[in-house]
Amino acid sequence: MSSNDHDDGHGHHAHNAPETGPALRVKALEAVLVEKGLVDPARLDTLIDTYEHKVGPHNGARIVARAWIDPAYKKRLLTEATAAIAEMGYGGPQGEYMTVLENTPRVHNMVVCTLCSCYPWPVLGLPPVWYKSFAYRSRAVSDPRGVLHELGLEIPAEVEVRVWDSSADMRYLVLPMRPPGTENLGEPELAELVTRDSMIGTAVVEYPPRKPPPVAKPAA
């Protein structure tokens, strides 16, 4: 077979079985670009591995936990987010311009990208399917409380809901409130509580957690 015939990792394709539809298209596209020396297939493998296994909301969770423990860090995070995030070793594509939004007893922040899928990759990984959906993108701005209700989160009427649209250069990370009862937890235990959705603003951090928090962890 040609050197461009990549193993897709599933191993269930017959030796010469044709792909169809977009899979075929991408295979052809990659072949053309590799032949022209415009992409290196090994780099593609590395990028996929990075975003599948290394970059994820566990990064943001560490930032949140540190901000909860360290008031000086929290202040830097709220005033110079990109630099404060870089202090923890996170940065790169889609994280060049960051703003951190603090949830308070008076204000609940929620993030959307109404036009596409802008999302702070270095601290949250790639966006979930629902974040990119027409339903979320079209309703988050016009009916945020309705959307949050359907996603299982009730915000009291006296709390202001602020919706932030990422459709520009800026990427947003929500700093959720630290739940009560966590005063004696250390930074790693606090990070374990912080969910991806709480950093998007469609959930809050709970303690004890209702169920094991779905924070992505790097593969062993």
Binding site: R25, L29, V32, L33, V39, L44, L115, G125, P128, A135
Partner: protein, 119 residues
């Protein structure tokens, strides 16, 4: 709209170990765009503008009750548009590569098959 959000709630049950990508080709398309951006051959904002247009088309379909193409199909279309606009890869080249991949040579021919060029 309410029904689709309920479906999305089900999607929130996905554990963290689930892939970002529903299919391997989605991962490949993602990495192609990012790699080209890294090497400076693709301007991310150009790609993003095309992605926005493709998503808008899909949104219109969904809004009128038709199935819209998936997010990564939008991504792939946007990527092809940028590659064509910048001269990196045009549709004809991809089409002909498409054809070869869909009809791979039999094993006895493979050894002598060379790269296909499009004039």
């Amino acid at each position: 709209m309410r029904k689709s959000l309920e479906d999305l709630m089900k999607s929130r049950g996905l554990t963290a170990s689930d892939s970002n990508f529903a299919e391997p080709w989605e991962a490949r398309a993602f990495a192609l765009a990012l790699s080209l951006s890294e090497s400076g051959r693709l301007v991310w904002d150009d790609f993003r503008q095309h992605l926005i247009m493709e998503i808008d088309e899909a949104d219109k379909d969904v809004a009128s009750g038709k199935p819209g193409v998936s997010y990564y199909e939008c991504w792939l279309r946007a990527l092809e548009a940028v590659l064509s606009a910048t001269g990196m890869a045009d549709a004809a080249e991809i089409d002909s590569r498409d054809l070869i991949a869909a009809n791979p040579p039999t094993p006895t021919k493979a050894a002598s098959a060379g790269p296909i060029k499009v004039a």
